[in-house]
């Protein structure tokens, strides 16, 4: 037998004898013979391999990727090259976490359950909210779930979205909104600061405001700018019985006031930056935190603390009556499994960093990003696209050919920023630069020098 099958020929013979069968094929007698797969199809799938060949194949493919492992990355836009402490990989890679399943049987799953309880606690702390769920797929679909939650809670259909939301998130919202018949409308930011501001709701018609379920903003937003006026905006939402959701970067919690403390009703986000490498976009980690009053509408798994028969502390999956396996078509969401192992990574990551470590990471990001902003503008290749306060990422207007710039940077071991035209065709000259704690002033200098050289050649 090939693959991972332990059966010897003798085993198979013994088992078939017990069953009174002559051949394994007899077990598949219910399948109409004309439906059986052809040998040529199986051959086309491949003839099997061994570990040596497999490693070679994947290594060869890996060699054709240019990554942050070899180049200093200034690429962000929702996926960041933050450091992951060594202990995260080693602990999260433990068999007992890796090869268990959704903790339906609490008595043999206390490890996973307690870890999720701690994850929920940490997420609530770093968002300033009362409760959190056990994770969702990614930052984009978590925001879409927030939208569905708000529509159900308010029984309204209109969702107002900041124009500085990540365009891929906006596209995912579009998918889910279309299916549910929800109306998405756009709130425009101040072009000078790229901030939405406290009075954004005045952009809506009276009709839209009456039907307004949720206002969605991202902070720091897609232009890297930290939103202000959230408190006033939340108050304006609540006055009209609408909710406010913020898509939040958890690393920013080390420096900035928390969206929950500012009055948001739902905080979602992408947790990749706290414990997981870029990984070509996945697996990442969606999180969702909310006000207590929204508990029964939260999608996905939730872990609660209780006691066992002997009065000892125990953790269980709870409030399951909302879920698909009980409510079927009346469930709050169809989500079953989520990203438990990635949530565990974040739990370990935040446990290691603690408040001081998270603050240091955020402080370093802020410091280096501002240094890079200054140097890149001084290079002559860029001007500032906006004057808004930014955290670890900023948007520039390029006066050089950024495709050529990124080629030269890569040749020098630097992965340049994002040419925004790839995601925002209407902004072909804009350039988004992310700077994490893994970057150094030296890398920033090299980046600026290459930009200056190009600017000199192009006469920018």
């Amino acid at each position: 037998m090939s693959g991972y099958i332990p059966h010897t020929d003798d085993d198979v013979r013994v088992m078939l004898e017990r069953l009174g069968l002559a051949d394994v094929a007899d077990l598949f007698a219910a399948i109409p013979s004309e439906l059986e797969i052809g040998e040529e199809t199986l051959e086309a799938v491949g003839r099997g391999s061994d570990e040596i060949q497999l490693l070679k194949h994947f290594r060869a493919a890996g060699a054709r990727n240019r990554t942050a492992a070899e180049a200093a990355s200034f690429l962000g836009a929702g996926c960041y090259d933050h450091h992951v402490p060594a202990a995260v990989d080693q602990l999260a890679g433990r068999s007992e976490f890796l090869t268990s399943y959704t903790p339906y049987q609490a008595e043999v799953s206390q490890g996973t359950l307690q870890a999720i309880f701690e994850f929920q606690s940490q997420i609530a702390l770093i968002t300033g909210m009362e409760i959190a769920n056990a994770s969702l797929y990614d930052g984009a679909s978590a925001l879409a779930e927030a939208m569905l939650l708000a529509a159900a809670e308010t029984r309204r259909q209109t969702i107002a979205v900041s124009d500085n939301l990540h365009p891929r998130y906006r596209a995912v919202l579009g998918t889910y909104a279309r299916v549910r018949g929800l109306r998405l409308c756009t709130l425009k930011s101040d072009p000078a600061t790229r901030q939405l501001g406290a009075s954004a709701l005045t952009q809506l018609t009276a009709d839209e405001r009456r039907d307004l379920a949720l206002v969605i903003l991202q902070s720091p937003n897609f232009s890297g700018v930290v939103e202000n006026g959230i408190r006033e905006l939340a108050a304006a939402c609540h006055e009209g019985r609408s909710l406010l959701a913020v898509s939040w970067d958890p690393v920013a919690s080390g420096l900035y006031r928390l969206p929950g403390d500012e009055g948001a009703d739902i905080v979602t986000g992408e947790g990749q930056g706290i414990g997981t490498r870029p990984s070509f976009g996945g697996p990442g980690l969606g999180f969702m935190a909310a006000r207590q009053k929204l508990l029964r509408r939260l999608p996905g798994r939730i872990v609660g603390a209780t006691t066992d028969r002997d009065g000892r502390r125990a953790y269980v999956l709870t409030i399951q009556a909302r879920e698909q396996h009980i409510r079927r078509e009346k469930a709050t969401s169809n989500i079953c499994t989520n990203q438990a192992l990635i949530a565990l990574r974040s739990t370990i990551h935040l446990a290691l960093l603690g408040p001081e470590g998270l603050g240091e990471v955020a402080g370093r990001c802020y410091h280096l990003a501002h240094l890079a902003h200054e140097r890149l503008i001084a290079s002559g290749a860029f001007t500032a696209e906006n004057q808004g306060p930014f955290f670890k990422e900023f948007r520039l207007r390029a006066h050089v050919d950024t495709a050529e710039l990124n080629r030269r940077l890569l040749a020098a071991g630097i992965q340049g920023g994002l040419r925004l035209g790839r995601l925002l065709p209407e902004s072909p000259d804009d350039y988004l630069v992310a700077v994490t704690e893994r970057r150094t002033p030296d890398e920033i200098d090299r980046f600026a020098r290459i930009a200056a050289e190009l600017a000199g050649e192009e006469g920018a």
């Binding site: 090939s2 991972y4 099958i5 394994v24 219910a30 059986e36 797969i37 199986l42 491949g46 490693l55 994947f58 240019r66 990554t67 602990l91 433990r94 068999s95 007992e96 976490f97 890796l98 268990s100 049987q105 609490a106 008595e107 043999v108 490890g111 307690q114 870890a115 702390l125 009362e130 797929y137 984009a140 679909s141 990540h166 299916v179 080390g254 006031r257 490498r277 990984s279 070509f280 976009g281 697996p283 609660g304 066992d308 698909q324 396996h325 409510r327 079927r328 169809n334 989500i335 079953c336 499994t337 565990l344 446990a351 960093l353 603690g354 408040p355 470590g357 998270l358 402080g363 410091h367």
Partner: protein, 503 residues
């Protein structure tokens, strides 16, 4: 045969929470040279400073050793495939080969940013394209979207593709999805999430869906039918071709829930059975680890003519042999910020490459042999939900035993824990009273199955001779049975709520 002694269960054990172990000032990780950063923060512009918080979030403060011990000890409270038999029906808890982990953990993949220009990530694009090709071959489809991050998201995508296809044809009246009563709860939940009304179809006496039932229910409002084959009773839906034809005749599409694909892989293809759309759970069929509840991956395959409605982008191979992203023309829309759980996809590809086509066929063969062996050896003790051969899992009913002894299937499940075996899925499918659903998978040996069978028979004896052993089970676990009512009535979801004594 001698009595089996209990030597594999866990001891009662509690581990303090991170917040309880916290000591102010303790550090587990630090960044060198943080003072320069602090100076930069103090010199920040007023607009920035007005946004800063006065204090950091009150996360616990621990040393690295504290953290390492905490999570190492927590891991010891879990049952996992790697430390014991895990016959959780419908979840396909097969062995997770370690080479898959090794290849997916290469820096060249984990360090790769999703917005890397295509010319700089040809390697991973080639692998993703290769996976898509192999899935198309194995399942009988024209294209797969690898984007859905889990089976449930795959179902959602499959259904919105069906919806988009109807609407593209100007057919806006098709609001209903037909689903048999034996289906996973996720099916109706996904159909509702995708904006459809659910019409439940009764299974027949033999546990299968009749084409006649479908014919009567299908009509101009039918968008499609969702079916898993083999179904949740572990039975092959033998009228599947007629069922598909009936739906097609009524103008609907047929959806294959790939939850049970481990029974048929390399033997029969959903595409050939008449299913237009299919999702797979790579964490079941293709051996990627379940991770305590994710990350999984739920790719969606479609037959020719439906490709344009899939979420984008997907990878195409150009004539010059290079790979590029391509957006489908009439996409129902993306459901993920990027391309799904890329690293999970790589693990599944490693598995398929390792087995090859013939190996996949052998895997389903042994999965079905194992399930039938367990069904056969236990049938005299637990009533099979439906008599006769099964596919990859065996469903038993504990109703007669309950009526005789007063003991529930739940008690049997908890007693298995004492023997170091993870309980099978219980109380599902809903149409079987006191259901007990055993899926051994192909990676378990005859010795493991024989041990499980012996334990189950011994528990059967205990039900008569010493029922308290079941009522008080598990004794050999970190906790005794938890109070779920209290948990749901007075939810305590965070440290803070716990400290405040929320009730």
């Amino acid at each position: 045969m001698g009595k089996i002694t209990i030597d594999r269960g866990l001891a009662r054990r509690q581990i303090p929470q991170l917040n309880e172990a916290s000591v102010p000032g303790r550090r587990g990780w630090k960044l060198d040279g943080a003072s320069a950063d602090r100076a930069a923060l103090q010199n920040a512009a007023a607009a920035d400073r007005s946004l800063f918080a006065d204090t950091a979030p009150a996360l616990p403060e621990l040393s690295e050793l504290d953290v390492v011990r905490h999570f190492t000890q927590l891991s010891g409270l879990n049952h996992s495939v790697d430390n014991g038999f895990y016959p959780l029906g419908s979840c396909t808890m097969k062995f997770n080969p370690r080479i898959n982990e090794s290849v997916a953990a290469l820096d060249e993949f984990t360090g790769l940013h999703p917005l890397t220009e295509a010319e700089n990530c040809q390697g991973i694009l080639a692998l993703l394209h290769e996976l898509e090709e192999k899935l198309c071959l194995l399942l009988g489809y024209s294209r797969f979207s690898l984007q859905p991050a889990a089976g449930a998201q795959g179902e959602y995508v499959g259904l919105i593709v069906i919806r988009a296809w109807h609407e593209d044809r100007g057919d806006h009246e098709r609001r209903e999805i037909l689903i048999p009563d034996s289906a996973h709860g996720t099916n109706p939940a996904s159909a509702a999430a995708a904006g459809f009304d659910v019409v439940v179809l009764p299974s027949d006496e033999d546990g299968c869906l009749r084409a006649e039932t479908v014919r009567k229910a299908a009509g101009p409002r039918t968008a499609g039918l969702m079916l898993t084959n083999p179904n949740t009773l572990g039975l092959f839906e033998h009228e599947v071709q007629e069922i598909a034809a009936a739906v097609h005749e009524a103008g609907g599409l047929v959806y294959y829930d790939g939850a049970n694909a481990n029974a048929i892989i390399g033997r029969v293809r959903p595409g050939d059975m008449g299913f237009d759309v299919c999702h797979l759970n790579l964490h079941k069929t293709f051996s990627t680890p379940h991770g305590g509840g994710g990350p999984g991956a739920g790719p969606v395959g479609v037959r020719a003519g439906l490709e344009d409605f899939l979420p984008g982008p997907f990878v195409t191979r150009r004539e010059d042999g290079s790979y590029a992203w391509e957006e489908p023309a009439k996409s129902a829309g993306p459901v993920h910020a990027w391309y799904g759980n890329s690293l999970v996809l790589l693990k599944a590809l490693a598995y398929i490459r390792m087995l090859g086509g013939a190996g996949c066929r052998e895997a389903s063969g042994m999965a079905v042999l194992n399930a039938n062996y367990v069904a056969h050896e236990l049938a005299a003790y637990w009533q099979l939900a439906k008599p006769g051969p099964v596919m990859h899992e065996a469903v038993f009913s504990g109703k007669k035993l309950r009526d005789r002894t007063g003991l529930l299937t739940l008690d049997v499940a908890k007693r298995l824990i004492d023997y170091g075996i993870h309980p099978p899925t219980v109380y599902f499918p809903l149409i079987v009273p006191e259901a007990l659903m055993v899926e051994p998978t192909e990676t378990e040996s005859l010795e493991t199955l024989d041990h499980f069978i012996a334990v189950m028979r011994q528990i059967h004896d205990e039900m008569e001779e010493n029922p308290d052993l079941l009522r008080e089970a598990p004794q050999h676990a970190a906790i005794s049975r938890p109070d779920e009512t209290q948990a749901a009535r007075r939810p305590v979801l965070t440290w803070l709520q716990q400290e405040r004594g929320d009730s």
